[in-house]
């Protein structure tokens, strides 16, 4: 990654971090209904992967998907408006935090049934092949998803059909409250299982945006060349709890401390410094991100509520919801 690319990645990560913080604050102020699953701490995976992907590649994410939506072109304003139930939200306030989708930029959705989107990514990759394009499909999922049947069905089908799909596990060490290691027989829940399905499995430092970008670029090139799927296990840590206001008290203090010291933004800053980028340049990027998110919060707050009649639209392709004559 060149210096300009890394700086752009840094700014995007800073933007995501601030948007997540804003989402958290808005939740605590009662302005966000339901729940949120914040990805602060995991930004490098979404941003690094996006840097290696093409705009026409497909991305499928989980309910912890704010960072993917933002990395794939959704604006903080449309995301926050969605969380705050505004008509201006990304999905007209019908999706919410767990379902951020921006199909126009290849963000084909966030899915809240653990593991459910892996077969969809396989299908999107299959479709790319059938249509004769060299698009990729990427499924981002948590470590917990690797014990779901759909994970194994997807890996096998992608492998036997040699499809251009990348399975990127964001191993943040925990499912909801249970450490993945307590309920999984292998140490690397995604990468260790990949070879059993005839797929290469790699592990990467998920907090290092450069390492993620390089790893994704490598497996993407392989997949585009027709060599089939790959599994990438990106090791990371979430800063917040699992969801809502979970203080994550189940995590040992020294573990939290160790991971917080390994923060993706700090790592990127260190790399920028090594490349000779001055602190003031980084500060300007931070300032731009701050300003964008601040404006986004205000604009999203000012958005109108959805027209109640919208509740009965969009079930069918004709725009309506009629099930009978």
């Amino acid at each position: 990654m060149d210096t300009a690319g890394l700086l752009a990645c840094y700014e995007r990560m800073a933007l995501i971090r601030r948007t997540e913080k804003a989402a958290h604050d808005l939740f605590l102020q009662g302005l966000v209904k339901g729940t949120t699953h914040l990805a602060a701490g995991q930004e490098a995976i979404a941003v690094g992967a996006s840097a290696a992907l093409r705009p026409d590649d497909y991305v499928f994410a989980t309910y912890r998907g704010h960072h993917h939506a933002l990395a794939r072109g959704a604006t903080p304003e449309e995301c926050l408006a969605e969380l705050m139930s505004r008509a201006t939200g990304l999905c007209k306030a019908k999706g919410g935090s767990m379902h951020l989708t921006k199909a126009a930029t290849g963000m084909l959705g966030s899915y809240a049934i653990v593991g459910s989107h892996l077969p969809m990514a396989v299908g999107a990759a299959w479709s790319a092949r059938l249509r004769g394009t060299d698009q990729l499909a990427v499924a981002f999922f948590g470590d917990g998803a690797t014990n779901i049947g759909a994970f194994h069905e997807s890996l096998n089908l992608a492998a036997v059909w040699k499809l251009p799909v990348l399975f990127v596990c964001e191993n943040n060490q925990y499912m909801e409250y249970t450490p993945i290691a307590d309920v999984t027989a292998v140490a690397r829940p995604a990468a260790d299982r990949a070879p059993a399905h005839g797929i290469p499995g790699e592990v990467v430092d998920g907090n290092d945006v450069v390492a993620v970008e390089e790893a994704v670029a490598r497996i993407a090139e392989r997949a585009r060349a027709g060599d089939g799927p790959a599994v990438l296990e990106a090791e990371t840590y979430r800063h917040f709890g699992h969801s809502r206001a979970d203080p994550a008290a189940y995590r040992p203090a020294e573990e939290v401390e160790r991971w917080l010291k390994h923060d993706p933004l700090d790592l990127a800053r260190g790399r920028l410094a090594e490349l000779g980028v001055g602190a003031e340049v980084v500060a300007e990027a931070d300032e731009r991100a701050r300003a964008v998110v601040e404006r986004a919060v205000e604009a999203a707050k000012a958005g109108p509520p959805p027209d109640p009649r919208e509740a009965l639209t969009d079930v069918w392709a004709d725009g309506g919801a009629a099930w009978r004559t």
Binding site: L90, C91, P119, G123, S127, S154, R324
Partner: protein, 326 residues
């Protein structure tokens, strides 16, 4: 083309017609390609369209339907086969949570034009895990269209409509009808989803039927006719969209209603039909409504037992006689 076609041949014919006119139509499922399907409903497709359009899959129901969904979201029109409708339970997440909800929860951004075909229903002695009529499962889920043809011509015409539909369609092919024969439909035959057919006219009672219960209702109507009771038989063809207008229209002439459904009484589609009638057509009725439906038990194996729990001609005739005397 031959002057008769079987229901099972009509399935392959219906798919082939659409594959010829639209290259985005592709098929996937267990044993559908080289073997031509365990019910021989996809015979000839691999030969005509090749392995890039007709795909054998592993035994992975979640991957089959989930991948069909991903392909449908990105420009294809997949036709996925789930061998027996009982196995829909293995991919129920996709039918209940993913496919029907994605358009809505993305605010209309993503459409899912796919067909999930499956062999439905009892009557062949396959035992409890291969015999269920499961269209009532799908009926509980807003966002799925549900087709269940009764004749070879309807299989072809409704397959065309289902594959061309921009919405997801669950297409129930009834196992007990696979060997039945009918006239082959003309080229370009399309039966719009949500159009019921009055397949027999009569002034005394309306029998509303679907798939395997259509020939059953027709046989019952013949018996009843011998007793001076003329039954009108409505083949619903689709559960979603549901042609309530045709049912209410028929009741205007008959004022008596019996639904004949194979799925269990508990939560069956007949309950939806009679509740619409109770809401909107109560004044049309001169008698209570009756539902002839499956018993609320798993399907037993032996013929003699199975007959006890799924609709039969006798059960329909008895139900109608009771109403005629009312």
């Amino acid at each position: 083309m031959a002057d008769v076609i079987t229901y099972r041949e009509a399935v392959a014919e219906g798919i082939a017609r659409e594959m010829r006119r639209d290259t985005t139509v592709v098929c996937l499922g267990e044993d559908i390609a080289a073997a031509g399907g365990v019910f021989k409903t996809t015979v000839g497709l691999l030969k005509e369209f090749g392995p890039e359009r007709v795909w054998d899959t592993p035994i992975s129901e979640q991957a089959i339907v989930g991948a069909a969904m991903g392909a449908a979201m990105t420009g294809m029109r997949p036709v996925a086969e789930i061998m027996f409708s009982d196995f829909l339970a293995c991919c129920w997440d996709y039918l209940a949570n993913e496919i029907p909800k994605v358009r809505y929860m993305t605010g209309g951004q993503v459409t899912v034009p796919l067909v999930v075909r499956t062999a439905n229903g009892g009557g062949l002695g396959f035992g409890a895990q291969h015999s269920q009529a499961t269209e009532n499962w799908a009926l509980t889920v807003p966002g799925l269209k549900i087709a269940a043809p009764a004749t070879p011509a309807d299989v072809v015409g409704m397959m065309a409509a289902a594959i061309r539909s921009d919405d997801p369609v669950v297409f129930f092919e009834h196992k007990a009808l696979l060997a039945t024969k009918g006239a082959p439909p003309p080229p370009g035959h399309v039966v719009e989803l949500g159009r019921a057919a009055v397949v027999r006219e009569g002034a005394d009672v309306t029998l509303v039927a679907l798939a395997s219960t259509v020939p059953l209702a027709l046989k019952a109507a013949d018996v009843l006719s011998g007793e001076g009771i003329e039954a009108e038989v409505v083949d619903l063809r689709c559960l979603v969209p549901l042609d309530a207008a045709t049912v209410l229209g028929s009741l205007r002439g008959t004022s008596r209603l019996v639904t004949v459904e194979e799925n269990p009484y508990q939560g069956g589609w007949g309950a939806t039909v009679v509740s619409i009638v109770a809401d909107e057509g109560f004044g049309l009725l001169d008698a209570p409504v009756r539902r002839v439906a499956g018993e609320c038990v798993p399907l037993p194996f032996a013929d003699a037992l199975e007959e006890q729990v799924i609709p039969t001609v006798d059960k329909v005739v008895t139900a109608v006689r009771g109403l005629a005397a009312y």
